[in-house]
């Protein structure tokens, strides 16, 4: 919390800080002036002879004071909202820099992160919850953090900061005025003032736990709702919609019951505070009345104190609500800090690992791929090596779940090698800087993503290639005719993705391939790209890949389709052999073990 405050403080230029403070000062000063003018006016009405010009003077003073108060108040709010926006923008930008790892097996990632952070298993407060959070970070995570949690900070600036400012300025100022005007009232105010916050603090401690629980309950509810809504098609397929509706109603009811229980505490504390403040006003009023009756206090002073009393107690009364907002802000900040911690750890483990000594590819390794070999070395067991010279078309095969995708991901750098060494022309892939590795390796995942951007952006993804190159690579991938058909929609400017032209499964795979082939990588990794294709289509694709790779490049395809396996130069079978798995891929054991050991044609390579 303190770090956040310091962060905010640094964000605001000095001029604005001063302006906010000055605005608050003037606002409170004007309240005093306005109350004084009003009191004088009413007092004037009590007199036997009412002087008209005196009346006008006070009226003008009243009008002016109220107007300036209004202006300062609005200005103060405006400045605070500006600060809030700026802080939120900075938070968002910071979150944008964090790129989480790709979606791997949830537990595997967690263990990896634990190792990375040096955490012991028992440090994790709730492993199950940790995994759930991991999964959340995977999918809707970034959006939730950038939007929901960051926006929760806005309330802090809208509700808490003005209150704190008011409290800091108004309370001492008014107290001083009270003491000056009427010592007894001042004393009453002084005594009652701290009681409310103290009680609030005590009740707040009680409510804090409840508030955190409420936050958790709220997120749980949102998750539950969201999941139900996402699973509507599933529920319809299994004719469970009626049950789902009941489940949703139960969720909602459960949520409101527990929320009310929590809120009851908050309401009770608010009640206590309000009772104290209104009674204090009452006591003040009665005291003044009796003293005015006795003649020891004149009407004007007494009336002035009465007018100021509600304003004096206002910060105290709103403190309850502000406290609630403060708790929410703290919860949001905790979530954000958590996200940042996980994100930077993940980044360190995966991407930045390759900040090795080789800052650029040495002259010996040919980028076009001639002579590039890929060696996959075994880890600690150390005896096996697989050589894939340039021009090799390798197929990774294995039963479902054995780890084909994981292997490809390791090679692509999305997962740490975890004891494996992938060597390219003698250079350790893991030690290469990120930029170089991205140029050398092209990776097409199982589900290539179509971004909501133009076709050009979808292919380039920030790289710089001329349009001619883009068309060439589209032709290669088999999207040539499709591209020509998009001329009407804008050609390269055609919008794809959500709200744009939709692509079939096959077309999406081809787009992913075109994207990966754009940089002429030396190694092309393909994950199940032939999955949705008819046999003749698959044959065409394999032909194209062969032609493209020529004699220099290495293509690694993970699949189980027979045709691809039969046409491969090299077959790497990913099997489940317990002893090796134990050594290298510790966390995968429980998930990946398949009982069958598939033996495929061609050379049975070592287990990777």
């Amino acid at each position: 919390m303190k770090k956040f405050l310091r962060f905010c403080y640094n964000q605001i230029p000095v001029r604005e800080r001063a302006a906010t403070l000055v605005a608050a000062l003037f606002e409170n000063g004007c309240i005093l002036l306005a109350a004084y003018a009003a009191a004088m006016l009413i007092d004037g009405m009590a007199g036997e002879r009412m002087l008209a010009d005196a009346g006008w003077r006070y009226l003008l003073l009243l009008a002016a004071a109220l107007a300036v108060q209004a202006v300062c108040g609005a200005l103060g709010r405006y400045l605070l909202s500006g600060i809030s926006e700026r802080v939120r923008l900075s938070c968002r930008k910071r979150l944008h820099r964090l790129n989480w790892l790709s979606r791997g097996q949830g537990r595997q990632r967690q263990d990896m992160l634990n190792r990375g952070q040096g955490l012991q298993k028992q440090d994790m407060p709730n492993k199950e919850q940790g995994m759930q959070r991991q999964d959340m970070l995977d999918n809707a995570g970034l959006a939730a953090y950038c939007c929901q949690h960051v926006d929760a900070l806005d309330e802090f600036f809208q509700k808490v900061v003005p209150l704190v400012l008011a409290g800091l300025i108004r309370l001492p100022l008014f107290l001083a005025v009270f003491l000056y005007l009427d010592a007894v009232s001042g004393l009453i105010a002084f005594v009652t003032m701290p009681v409310a916050p103290v009680m609030l603090y005590l009740l707040g401690r009680l409510a804090a736990g409840a508030s955190a629980e409420q936050w958790d309950r709220q997120s749980e509810l949102n998750r539950g709702f969201y999941e139900l809504m996402q699973g509507v098609v599933t529920l319809k397929l299994f004719r469970r919609t009626a049950a789902a509706l009941r489940e949703m109603e139960d969720l909602a009811r459960h949520h409101s019951e527990s929320s009310l229980r929590v809120l009851r505490i908050a309401f009770l504390s608010a009640f206590a505070v309000e009772l104290l403040t209104t009674l204090s006003i009452a006591v003040l009023a009665v005291g003044i009345g009796l003293r005015v009756l006795a003649g020891s206090l004149d009407f004007a002073t007494g009336f002035l104190v009465l007018l100021l009393a509600p304003e004096f107690f206002m910060p105290v009364r709103s403190a309850g609500m502000a406290f609630h907002v403060l708790m929410n802000t703290r919860a949001a900040l905790q979530e954000l800090a958590e996200a940042e911690k996980i994100g930077t750890a993940a980044l360190a483990l995966a991407g930045a690992e390759g900040s090795g000594t080789a800052s650029e590819m040495p002259a010996g390794a040919d980028r076009s791929g001639t002579g590039s070999k890929m060696l996959a070395g075994a880890g600690e067991s150390g005896n096996h090596a697989l050589e894939l010279p340039g021009g090799t078309f390798a197929v990774v095969t294995g039963s479902s779940g054995a780890g084909k995708t994981t292997l490809l991901r390791r090679m692509a750098g999305l997962l740490p090698p975890a004891g494996w060494q992938f060597l390219l022309a003698g250079y350790d892939l893991g030690a290469l800087p990120e930029g170089t590795r991205q140029k050398i390796i092209g990776y097409v995942p199982q589900e290539p993503h179509v971004y909501a951007a133009s076709l050009r952006d979808n292919l380039l993804l920030g790289r710089d290639f001329p349009d001619g190159e883009l068309v060439r690579v589209l032709e290669l991938a088999g999207l040539g005719s499709w591209y020509r058909r998009q001329a009407a929609a804008g050609g390269m400017e055609a919008k794809l993705g959500d709200g744009g032209i939709s692509l079939s499964n096959g077309q999406r795979h081809r787009l992913g391939m075109a994207r990966a082939m754009l940089g002429s990588p030396s190694v092309l990794l393909l994950d199940e790209v032939t999955a949705g294709l008819e046999p003749h289509e698959e044959g065409e694709l394999l032909d194209m890949l062969r032609q493209w790779q020529g004699s220099g490049r290495v293509v690694v395809l993970a699949t189980h389709r027979q045709q691809a396996v039969s046409r491969a130069d090299r077959v790497i079978a990913v099997e489940a052999e317990p002893e090796i798995e134990k050594v290298e891929i510790e966390a995968e054991i429980e998930i990946e073990i398949e009982s069958e050991s598939g033996k495929v044609e061609g050379e049975v390579g070592p287990c990777l």
Binding site: A70, D135, S400, G462, R561
Partner: protein, 531 residues
């Protein structure tokens, strides 16, 4: 009914608490003003007690108001969520490319539900309460008759002016929501594709895009902030002027002797208190406007009519005519997503009870669409579907490709989707789907958590789990027709063969339609349907 009572109770409590707060201040003013005239003490006894009483009363009433208000809001929110869910049940899966995908639709509707809740709690009640106060005050002032009509109606004019200004100011706010969803949309999009951004070095580009979107959001936010501040200033000034006017009036009246100064004091303080209540009106309008302007609700109803052809009931079956023979007959059915391309296009086939067929076709030829049509999720544009195999809800067991898997344990998922199946049935279907060994090898067994959308399973395992679910449903409900969409996707040949052989054997007497791309699978079926 209960909700209406709670709403009414909340409203009354809110009104009463505001009244007691005004009474507290008014009586205090009276007390002090009267005291300055040096009357007897006993005349002040009532005001003194009254002040204390109102002090306590106010706190109590506020507590009651908060409690009932929140309870009513929760009840309303539950009702809105329920309606929303039913709407979604009718709507999904989306068949038309309306330029919006499922994710953003869900988000938008979620926000609509939240807006309705705050509409009631923070919007309507404060507005109505302040309106009542204004009316009451106007009535009292008119009744007193010592002020000019203009001043008597002052609180009412104020309310109108403030509400009107707030309304005008808020109308400009809607542009911000558009920017916000654009930003969120961009975030989700780039987040889903972050793998490839990582491997192609597109992270910098992605970050630049996101920063750009966040920047536009910031600009829109600043514009809104400026607008809001100006509105707030206008409102505050609008409350200053009438008060000064009132004081001038009071001065006039007092000097002309129409009013005693005690009355003047009480009026001044009370009216100031009432005007103070109006200060929160802008906030209330802020919550009312989005819901009332119907930005969301009108879109919902518009979408509703657009998708009307989708299905009129939640559990719609397609326009199926019963026939005597137990079979399934499709006659020249066509369906179109966008009115131009028809997939499938004029497909006809017949399936007898117990017959099994493979559905083949190039990618994009509409095989999954065919399943949706058979299941009654969508209605065909042309052609007819007949057959008693499709007639009632329980006879079809199906999985299609993009089915969401709930984040729960395996056992729980089966319980949820096939409650009629016992544990024996669960294990049987897992064996049929060749997942038995895997589940047994997990330390948690059936308690293995699946992760969001089954992310803790590999692609092939997830597909097999779905097959197991369909099988469980078929076994426990006696479905006469099974529709399986790519059951062997992600599996190697041996496992695929084993899976299908098992299914064919277990469901020998039932009709089955299997979509596939694999040749070896197609070979296992005598009948083939080409799309």
């Amino acid at each position: 009914m209960l909700m209406r009572c709670m709403q009414l109770a909340a409203f009354c409590l809110s009104l009463l608490s505001s009244l007691s707060s005004i009474a507290l201040l008014g009586l205090s003013a009276y007390l002090i003003a009267a005291a300055s005239l040096q009357p007897e003490l006993y005349t002040l006894a009532l005001p003194i007690t009254g002040v204390r009483a109102f002090g306590i009363l106010r706190a109590l009433l506020r507590y009651g108001e908060r409690y009932t208000g929140h309870a009513a809001a929760f009840a309303l929110s539950a009702r809105v969520s329920r309606r929303l869910f039913i709407y979604l049940l009718r709507l999904l899966p989306l068949s038309h490319s309306s330029g919006e995908n499922q994710g953003s639709l869900l988000h938008r509707l979620n926000r609509a539900a939240e807006e309705w809740r705050s509409f009631y709690l923070r919007g309507v009640t404060p507005m109505l309460v302040s309106l009542m106060l204004a009316m009451l005050a106007a009535a009292v002032l008119c009744g007193m008759g010592s002020l000019s009509p203009l001043c008597s109606w002052l609180p009412a004019w104020c309310w109108l002016a403030v509400a009107g200004t707030a309304w005008l100011g808020e109308r400009k706010q809607l542009a911000l929501t558009a920017e916000y969803s654009a930003y969120r949309h961009r975030l989700l999009d780039l987040q889903s594709g972050r793998e490839e951004l990582f491997t192609t070095g597109g992270r910098a580009w992605a970050e630049a895009q996101l920063d750009g979107a966040a920047h536009s959001l910031w600009l829109a936010g600043r514009r809104q902030g400026r607008c809001r501040s100006l509105t707030e200033l206008a409102i505050r000034l609008m409350l200053v002027l009438p008060f000064c006017l009132l004081m001038a009036e009071l001065w006039e009246s007092c000097s002309l002797g129409r009013m005693s100064f005690v009355e003047a004091a009480v009026l001044a303080v009370s009216v100031q208190a009432i005007l103070g209540e109006f200060a929160g009106l802008a906030e209330a309008v802020r919550h009312v406007l989005p819901a009332l302007s119907g930005a969301n609700s009108s879109q919902i109803s518009e979408n509703n009519s657009q998708f009307e052809k989708n299905s009129s009931q939640i559990w719609a079956e397609s326009s199926i005519m019963n026939s005597n023979k137990v079979c399934l007959k499709a006659d020249r059915i066509s369906f179109s997503y966008d009115g131009v391309h028809r997939v499938p296009d004029s497909v006809s086939f017949e399936l007898m009870a117990g017959e099994k067929a493979a559905v083949l076709g190039d990618s994009g030829s509409g095989k999954t669409t065919l399943f949706y049509l058979l299941l009654g999720l969508w209605q065909p544009d042309r052609g007819t579907l007949q057959g008693s195999l499709l007639a009632e809800g329980g006879t079809v067991s199906a999985i299609t490709q993009n089915v969401y898997v709930f984040d729960t344990t395996i056992g729980e998922l089966f319980r949820r989707l096939c409650p009629e199946g016992s544990e024996a049935v669960v294990w049987q279907s897992l064996e049929l789907a060749c997942l038995g060994d895997f589940v047994r090898s997990c330390p948690d067994g059936l308690g293995y958590r699946l992760g969001q959308d089954g992310c803790r399973l590999s692609g092939g395992q997830r597909q097999r789990l779905l097959v197991a679910l369909a099988a469980a449903r078929a076994l426990s409900t006696g479905s006469r027709l099974l529709l399986l969409d790519e059951p062997t996707c992600g599996l190697d040949r041996r496992t695929g063969e084993r899976l299908l052989a098992g299914l064919l054997a277990a469901f020998a007497g039932r009709a089955m339609l299997v979509i596939t791309h694999d040749e070896y699978v197609a070979e296992m079926f005598k009948k083939k349907i080409h799309l």
